[in-house]
């Protein structure tokens, strides 16, 4: 009887296993199928629905109702790409893109609608041609003994030795300008590594929260983010971080970290934001889609998705431009000399 029961149990298990397929809905490779697939991916994975509903009234169901009538089986690939790109644009998120082999849909209004506040022509007047360059970071000492560091990307891995050598070279300076204008981000660990040179203590710099389910409000608890001080050479004097609207993603994170450190002032324009950790997925037609999947907050639990306001909002002036002066760098030098 016992053996019979065991046999029946195994047979039942077999039946359950054979009949229980773990499957995901597969949409057809048609304009409608691709539209439905994209809408669902974003609906289930995007992390800023609640926040953006509060800020500007985003309603993803309304977006569906607005764009679905624009989809029909007679539209060509280019038309479909355009409609899907516009639908994603409703999210107002620089981390959201649709990739085809011939185009990239994007929402870049977070910097395209504002003055650039950066000129490489002006920057050349400060950097000259004999600046030092390590791991993509350009640095020099200005004639008033202020160190100037330009970090235009966090795509590169920053080595401890690179940063040690840089800070050793700049050590005699009275203050330091770290210019991250036009830095569109890259590796978050590179941003952490650079920021870790500006604190002697472990600092609470923010919080992270990921989705735990398909609902718009299904989130984990807020997990703390700490910035650990580097074991290498650390900077203790005054620092000015220069930002513009194109400071995005990991660079925005870097600004967030730096604002938690002592002796740091942020000047320039508001940063661009991008406080979502981006993930990728794909559509039946082969297009790839990127979207924000995890929310990142500052130390006061405020979202930095739409940027970080500077302590001093300074813009490039035309008069200074004609004189070959970068208004923001000049303001920073004055600030560090005070």
């Amino acid at each position: 009887m016992k053996r019979l029961f065991t046999l029946l149990f195994i047979v039942a298990l077999t039946v359950v296993s054979f009949t229980s397929c773990v499957e995901e809905e597969q949409f057809s490779d048609t304009p409608e199928g691709n539209f439905e697939a994209l809408w669902k991916i974003i609906d289930q994975h995007y992390c800023f629905f609640d926040y953006k509903k509060e800020v500007y009234g985003l309603d993803w169901d309304e977006v569906y109702a607005k764009y679905k009538p624009q989809i029909n089986d007679n539209m060509n690939e280019t038309q479909l790409f355009e409609v899907l790109g516009k639908m994603l644009g409703e999210l107002r998120d620089g981390h959201v893109n649709l990739y085809s082999s011939y185009d990239l849909s994007r929402y870049w209004s977070w910097y395209e609608d504002y003055p650039s506040n950066f000129s490489d022509t002006l920057q050349r007047n400060y950097l000259g041609t004999d600046y030092r360059l390590a791991s993509g970071i350009k640095y020099t000492i200005l004639d008033d003994n202020i160190g100037y560091v330009y970090c235009g990307t966090f795509e590169n891995d920053l080595g401890d030795s690179n940063l040690d050598q840089m800070l050793l070279y700049l050590a005699p300076c009275n203050g330091l300008i770290i210019d991250v204008r036009n830095n569109g981000g890259g590796k978050i660990v590179s941003a952490e590594k650079l920021a870790s040179r500006f604190t002697d203590n472990k600092l609470l710099v923010g919080y992270m929260q990921h989705k735990t389910g398909t609902g718009h409000s299904d989130f984990s608890s807020m997990e703390t983010q700490y910035l650990e001080p580097s074991d290498g050479i650390r900077w203790h004097k005054k620092v000015v971080v220069i930002t513009n609207r194109k400071v995005f993603s990991s660079a925005n994170e870097y600004v967030k970290y730096m604002r938690c450190c002592d002796n740091v002032t942020q000047i320039g324009d508001k940063s661009g934001g991008g406080a979502g950790f981006p993930y990728s997925s794909e559509l039946p037609c082969g297009w790839s889609v990127r979207f924000s999947a995890c929310q990142i907050f500052d130390k006061d639990k405020n979202s930095t998705e739409f940027g970080i306001e500077p302590d001093n909002n300074v813009s490039l002036s035309t008069t200074d431009f004609l004189r070959g002066k970068d208004t923001i760098i000049e303001f920073a030098r004055k600030k560090l000399s005070e």
């Binding site: 296993s17 229980s20 991916i41 990921h210 984990s220 995890c294």
Partner: protein
């Protein structure tokens, strides 16, 4: 001292001690992989697999309990739809367990029933994703296991048909949470239900193999079909790997004799 015997000699009673059956199989087939952490699309492609299987008699229950070990590795390369995206996957599996043996039908039919510890480690890599490029696979299951083998003669030659079935009923699995990044788990150290208990309800999986053994000269060869269906639905992440493989290899039987 080792000795090798053919199928005909395998009619020995189960109580024979120190008998080791060892089988090496190589397989190729098709696979269908889904992992919604990476993509909602089903990827299909080619898989190659190696299987090493050892059964040895023990002295337990008067020799009616045998020990079973399986070491298996596979790697696959896949695309979806019209080949726009590609994924690479690999898995290593180790099983150890014990079976109770029944010899029926005048020794022609051998039934084995028991349980296995089923350890699996692997990965799926999506070649174009950004911050979610790969999914790690790590799980341990307890699996009831059945093996039935039937010996017969045809054209005056010995053959043996064998069917193996393993079905996990419970276990533990590593999984990121639904939208959790590996950066958050490993760089920030944020744990969130990353070790998940599983049952045959949320992880309905099955591994089975139908094969036939035959002799050529003094060697025993095995050809067969392996169907390996590993599935899970944990942390709202769905995953499946459905593999259908043609396997071919050889079987050896050893007897360890005490040294004189």
């Amino acid at each position: 001292m080792l000795s090798t015997v053919s199928i005909e000699a395998q009619n020995d009673s189960l109580q024979t001690k120190g008998i080791i059956d060892r089988c090496h199989l190589y397989g190729v087939g098709i696979t269908n992989i889904l992992d919604t952490y990476l993509s909602p699309e089903n990827y299909t492609g080619i898989e190659v697999r190696f299987v090493g299987e050892t059964t040895r008699t023990t002295q337990l229950a008067n020799g009616k309990i045998s020990q079973y070990q399986l070491s298996m590795g596979n790697i696959s390369s896949m695309n979806y739809r019209d080949g726009n995206g590609s994924e690479i996957a690999g898995m290593y599996t180790y099983n150890i367990g014990w079976h109770y043996n029944w010899i029926l039908c005048d020794g022609h039919l051998r039934l084995q029933a028991g349980g296995l510890l089923d350890f699996n480690i692997g990965f799926i890599y999506n070649t174009r994703n950004s911050n979610n490029p790969a999914q790690g696979k790590l799980y341990l299951n307890i699996s009831p296991s059945l093996i039935a083998s039937y010996k017969f003669r045809l054209w005056n030659r010995p053959f043996s048909v064998r069917y193996l079935l393993n079905i996990p009923i419970a276990g533990v699995m590593f999984s990121p949470n639904y939208g959790q990044s590996y950066y958050e788990i490993f760089s920030e150290g944020n744990y969130d239900h990353n070790v998940v208990p599983t049952t045959f309800i949320c992880s309905p999986s099955l591994r089975n193999m139908l094969s036939i053994d035959f002799n050529i000269g003094h060697s025993t060869f095995r050809i067969g079909y392996m169907g390996d269906f590993q599935q899970s639905n944990v942390n709202n992440l769905k995953s499946h790997t459905w593999s259908h493989l043609f396997m071919i290899g050889f079987v050896k039987r050893f007897k360890i004799l005490p040294a004189l």
